[in-house]
Amino acid sequence: MDKTWIKKITKSKSFSAFTSALLAIFLGLIIGFIVMLFARPERAVAALQKILFYGFTDLGNVFYFATPIMMTGLSVGFAFKMGLFNIGASGQYTLGMLFALYAGFTFDLPLGIHWIVCVLFGMLGGMLWGIFPGLFKAYFNVNEVITSIMFNYIGTYLVDMLVKGSAKMYVPTTTRTAYLPQSAQLPALGIKNSSANIAIFIAIALAIILFIILNKTTFGYELRATGFNKHASQYAGMNGKKNIVITMMISGALAGLGGAFAILAPSTIAGSSQTYEPINVIAANGFNGIAVALLGNSSPIGIIFSSIFISHIQRGGTQTSILGFKPEIIDVVVAIIIYFSAFSLVIKMAAGRLITKMRHSKGKEEVDQALSEETYMPDKPGDNTDDIEEKEV
């Protein structure tokens, strides 16, 4: 009986999400390796080593690059919980960046306060851009995917226009934004040759807060209920419209913080700062957030790890260029991992079926035991004839 706690853990939902993520990563790396074998067979093993292990030698930058995608991942994941697909994290991210830049250049505030104000402004910008898809969805029943894609474009062009039009922010000779004042930059952690800063801790703290909101509060209860079953939440009298708008607001705020964290990060070169180049490209970090959220199973805690992992292999991936690989190879590997993270659910179900079959042929007693435990089986037949009907199709 002393093994019950192990059983409890292995049977829990988060454990199965974790194992399926691991499986996805494993398969993704294998296929990624095969791709690299085709590209440069003699260097593929070395490249795989770089991808897997380089990040450990550059932890500061792993955390630095993990921060923005952790935020956009949380943004996408949080909306997912409500059943909303916020594909507009990029736009919200860009707006957050603009607002943070604006606060950085415009206000003259003391050290220790300025950057906080900038971060809050970034949050505000993302929130603003998140509200619109929420309002459209709630009150006009326009699919949030379409609205938020459009708002990615509107946001990107708008920001670039505003940045280029501002003499304070934009330096035409470098075609980038000017250096932010030191007071606006996030406090660095002091790791050599890296821009690692306090934002990683803020992001992790936010993830934990989101976890608590989702699992301990009535708002989280409503939100997850709506995500699981819209009709039941309506039946229970939950205010779906209000919740959609609030969720998109929070989701946007999170992505906006991602943009703020990215642009406000301290530079490794003294007297400079991060800069933004307005060249009408939609921020990739927004889309990476979708990948992070998927791999993290939309769970805030899962997203902490998935964002750090993706940042880790991305750092390693950039190093493969030394071996003559195109840096895009790592994007391919990441894409394959994401693909398998969706696919692994299918693999897991097939595995479950196989195990049940094996158990059955072993002996009926064990099956009875399995039955009495009533484990979660998504396609268990018999409790409703409709279930069987669906499978016939």
Binding site: K216, T217, T218, F219, Y221, E222, R224, A225, F228, N229, H231, A232, S233, Q234, Y235, A236, G237, M238, N239, M349, G352, R353, T356, K357, H360, K364, V367, A370, L371, S372, E373, E374, T375, Y376, M377, P378, D379, K380, P381, G382, D383, N384, T385, D386, I388, E389, K391, E392
Partner: protein
């Protein structure tokens, strides 16, 4: 005598986590009507799906006329002369009757369909078996009974000799059921063999020659109908004695609780009103039943009552308060409890635990939350109370995921939740749909108990037995109008059927 056309020998079919069929043997004689009886989840549908080639059994053999056959898909089954009428019809709504019948076996010359040939064959069959259909009508425009005839004609057109009927009477009126029984007898006389899945004992007694009973995936036995009784069959099916009569005393009618005035609701499916100018009252201490054939406006009526959808016009008054414009939460607070028609769609969040589902209507109450934080301990305590009180059985108690529970226990959980909530009116829509006899018995007794504690109960039901046994007053709904107000003690099922099919209506009601 042992002239078996189909033998299913020692069939075992396993799904993840459950053995749906465990070593089941079923032997079908030529020219007999063989009923397959069992509660929901007993494995009837699975067994028939194995025979029809939708599932492959892990163990066991199927023999036809003594020879072993392999059935890997419905086409194989069709080649062996096995046809099936599914519970939910497999018809193309926007095709005509004729097009649906020939679908998949279209007679053609160089790819051009020969409709003339098909039409002649269909009309011949239609005449021979008394299955009147209009071959040019679109499926979406004909009645459910008519659609079933199309399904039957599909089997005949394919010259099937083994006919499987999966709960064929669930959607029919009493008159249509009688006709179907006649048709089935005709087939048997012609030498066709019929497998008839059901959990309605009356129909088995009326039409079947033999009956095989399954329970929890296991074979219980095969009996000759002429040597058995309804009670015997139900004991085999449930495994214990069952009380068919609902025990209840005279209704003690008290004050008016619900008053619906001139209610009209638009339809989502067609241009006409789904509910057309309906008025009725429900009083405390009585069970009023809305009876009718599926799709006559019951769903829309309940949606408008509970606030799930908007009404076109009319007024709803609950205990002297006008709730016409109130939202769902307000109506719930005002005293409406609602056991919804579709427990998976509305009644439960299937991926939530049982305890989270138990507070679905009440999580916001100060009892269960403080400053927006859910009091987990209170929720757990309350869930345990309900589980105890309403005998909800599940694998891991309050932490069981609702999806993994059986239909009967899911329904008990919903019913418990809704009855336990402070309420004046209980709206229960098909509360026993798809449940086994034991659960039905329990739910009926709870409805009566709720009535006796002074609540008003509005029951919406398609099951005639339920309508007759449980209700104190019957309102018959037909095409969105109430066509009769009946006393269950004074009428019989046949007359009720006439009202339900629109053949009869009270002059005082409607137009």
């Amino acid at each position: 005598m042992d002239n078996y056309i189909i033998e299913m020998l020692n069939i075992t079919k396993v799904f993840p986590g459950i053995v749906a069929n465990d070593n089941i043997t079923l032997k079908l004689r030529k020219g007999e009507i063989h009923a397959l009886l069992g509660e929901n989840g007993a494995g009837k549908s699975t067994l028939m799906s194995v025979l029809f080639g939708l599932y492959q059994a892990e163990e066991g053999e199927i023999h036809k006329n003594g020879k072993k056959v392999e059935i890997n898909n419905p086409n194989d089954a069709n080649d062996l002369g096995i046809g099936m009428v599914h519970q939910h019809f497999k018809l193309v709504d926007v095709f005509t009757v004729l097009e649906n019948i020939i679908l998949g076996v279209e007679p053609n010359k160089m790819g051009f369909i020969q409709k003339k040939e098909a039409r002649k064959k269909i009309m011949d069959l239609s005449e021979q078996y008394g299955l009147k259909v209009n071959p040019d009508a679109l499926i979406e425009n004909i009645s459910v009974g008519m659609q079933q005839r199309v399904e039957i004609l599909k089997m005949l057109y394919r010259e099937n000799e083994i006919l499987i009927f999966d709960e064929p009477t669930a959607v029919l009126t009493p008159q249509e059921i009688d006709e179907l029984i006649e048709i089935m007898r005709g087939f048997a006389a012609e030498g066709k063999s019929i497998l008839f899945i059901t959990h309605k004992l009356n129909e088995i007694m009326a039409v079947a020659d033999r009956c095989t009973v399954l329970r929890k995936g296991k074979y219980v036995g095969t009996v000759d109908i002429k040597d058995t009784t309804k009670e015997e069959l139900s004991r085999m099916m449930v495994g214990r004695e069952v009380n068919f009569k609902v025990d209840k005393s005279e209704a003690k009618i008290k004050e008016k609780v619900l008053s619906v005035k001139n209610l009209s609701v638009a339809s989502e499916h067609h241009k006409n009103l789904a509910v057309n100018n309906i008025s009725f009252d429900v009083n405390a201490g009585e069970i009023v039943c809305i009876a009718g054939i599926d799709g006559n406006g019951q769903t829309e009526l309940v949606s408008a009552l509970t606030g799930l959808s908007k009404m076109e016009s009319g007024q709803i008054i609950l205990c002297d308060t006008d709730i016409t414009k109130a939202n769902i939460r307000k109506r719930s607070k005002a005293g409406i409890s609602h056991v919804p028609e579709d427990r998976h769609k509305h009644g439960l969040v299937l991926d939530y635990s049982l305890e989270d589902n138990m507070v679905l209507q009440r999580y916001w109450e100060p009892k269960f939350q403080k400053k927006g934080f859910i009091k987990k301990r209170e929720v757990r305590k309350y869930a345990n109370q309900l589980i105890e009180k309403y005998d909800v059985r599940s694998g891991q108690g309050p932490t069981t995921i609702a999806r993994s529970m059986s239909g009967g226990n899911q329904q008990k959980a919903i019913l418990g939740r809704e009855i336990d909530k402070e309420h004046k009116l209980l709206v229960a829509v098909q509360p026993t749909r798809g449940l086994d006899v034991g659960a039905i018995e329990y739910i009926h007794s709870q409805l009566v108990a709720s009535r006796d504690s002074g609540k008003a109960v509005l029951l919406v039901s398609l099951e005639l037995d339920e309508v007759m046994n449980v209700s104190d007053r019957i309102l018959v709904i037909y095409e969105g109008e109430i066509v009769g107000e009946l006393d269950p003690k004074k009428i019989d099922v046949q007359e009720l059927g006439l009202y339900m099919s629109g053949a009869k209506r009270d002059k005082s009601k409607g137009e």
